[in-house]
Subunit: 249 residues, 2 copies
DNA sequence: TCAAAAGTGTTACTAATACACCCATGT
DNA sequence: ACATGGGTGTATTAGTAACACTTTTGA
């Protein structure tokens, strides 16, 4: 996890000089999904001094499991641990990275571009997708970015390299998973209403469900526990809150 | 592709000395599925001088796409090009390889074991699964194996490292794919009978289908072209042969 | 008592399954 | 004629979808 007290330049120099602490040529990119205002969101970094966005990513320490590395990278960008995180593919075209972009980014930090520098080599990237509770996330830029924000999956800004393809593939995988591995709960707070859950499914799968049938189906799975009422302040009945019962799943 | 005229030792020395032509710490392992005698088969290498089996695998050249590398490795072990090949996961635990096994294998070739040698470092492996026509394959051992044979997926011999887990995961993925990405044809010759196709589905999914319903369903997909009769020599009607119509898929 | 949430019941439609039965055809 | 391949029809069942209607409950 990044120490907030350390100055940014120190961290940058450390990263530059300690390339041998990482597995070379191998990176991780994360597609972090969140759900807010009836929209599916993705967490993107805005590269410093460029109108270009990138997925949160990083490198794998020599003695670190790839899954651990994914979790670590995600903790750094979101402040969250114990995130639902799953691998969805490897992106290994030898020309997927592009040194013209590298050069621009690096020189914007006042560092002369060296094509032999480890970070500008060819990289094979392992794609992970994460499902998180939107409200729990503290978006945190990394060393090469000045912003970290949520974006609607429908309207993405220009993305670095093949990152648009990664988002696409992650979304395909998420849609597949949603059907038969009750994964949608991870996008909601610990307690949620049935209407919110329905919203998640409708947004991701891009179709409407009948309220009554949806409710019947979800409850019949026997993995939702009704907890209490949600007092929303309206002049009407408060909806029930449910919790995903991990014990029964 | 390996030159059959080159002596084995020359190839071995070349591989040992040219480790820098490959991406370090990154390997590919292939789960090659075939179908024969109503059984789903996997292609395994028997390691020289050890009662241990391994998946066909290899390394990625510096300027090579990972998908290309997979196809190349498969061509070397099967003699086939244009194979149906798909990635199914990355195996990246830092302790997944094991130098005691490495040592045994290497010393069996009379080469002293050097723990700093590139091949004995930690490796992250990309898993690919392939679907091939059993009869077209020419199983070919690699430098570290003395045999290359088909094995029933149900009864596998002891496997190297986490290769048993790779087979398991590949099979899971294959079962998922079979449902909604008509992939089964790749396990059969170009022309096949409906009964053979049904056999493939029944074996992989481990359940029986009603002949009539199976036939109706397959034909209703509109991607099978009936070609001719199969003269099997029996005293009965010859079954039709079908071809997978790629144009309509 | 109003408004929204939650639950029940019923009908219609669709897809999967099981099975009976007939036709085709090579020896 | 016989054995096997290939095809049709149809009853049953399970799962989805659509919708009307009732009940609950907070302000």
């Amino acid at each position: 996890m990044m120490e907030p007290s350390e100055p940014r330049d120190t961290l940058l120099i450390e990263l530059v000089e300690n390339g041998d602490r990482f597995l070379p040529h191998l990176s991780i990119d994360c597609v972090v999904f969140g759900f807010h205002a009836s929209q599916l969101k993705v967490l993107l970094l805005k590269l410093t001094n460029a109108d270009l966005y990138a997925l949160p990513g990083g490198y794998i320490y020599q003695e670190e499991d790839t899954d651990q590395a994914g979790a670590r990278i995600l903790a750094e960008r979101t402040g969250l641990t114990r995130i639902y995180l799953e691998q969805f593919g490897v992106f290994g075209r030898h020309d997927r990275t592009n040194n013209r972009v590298h050069q621009q980014i690096f020189e914007s930090f006042g560092i002369p571009f060296d094509p032999d520098f480890w970070m500008w080599k060819r990289f094979v990237s392992i794609g992970y997708y994460a499902l998180v509770d939107y409200d729990q996330v503290t978006p945190t830029p990394d060393l090469f970015s000045d912003r970290c924000d949520w974006h609607d999956v429908g309207t993405l800004p220009p993305l670095l390299f093949d990152h648009a393809r990664l988002v696409e593939k992650a979304l395909e995988t998420l849609r597949l998973m949603l059907d038969h591995k009750l994964v949608g709960f991870n996008l909601l707070p610990e307690m949620f209403t049935m209407a919110e859950l329905q919203g998640v499914y409708e947004t991701i799968l891009n179709r409407k469900f009948q309220r009554t049938n949806f409710q019947r189906k979800m409850l019949s799975l026997g993995i939702l526990e009704r907890v209490q009422k949600k007092y929303g302040g309206g002049s009407h009945k408060a909806p029930y809150l449910y919790r995903f019962d991990t014990g029964k799943a």
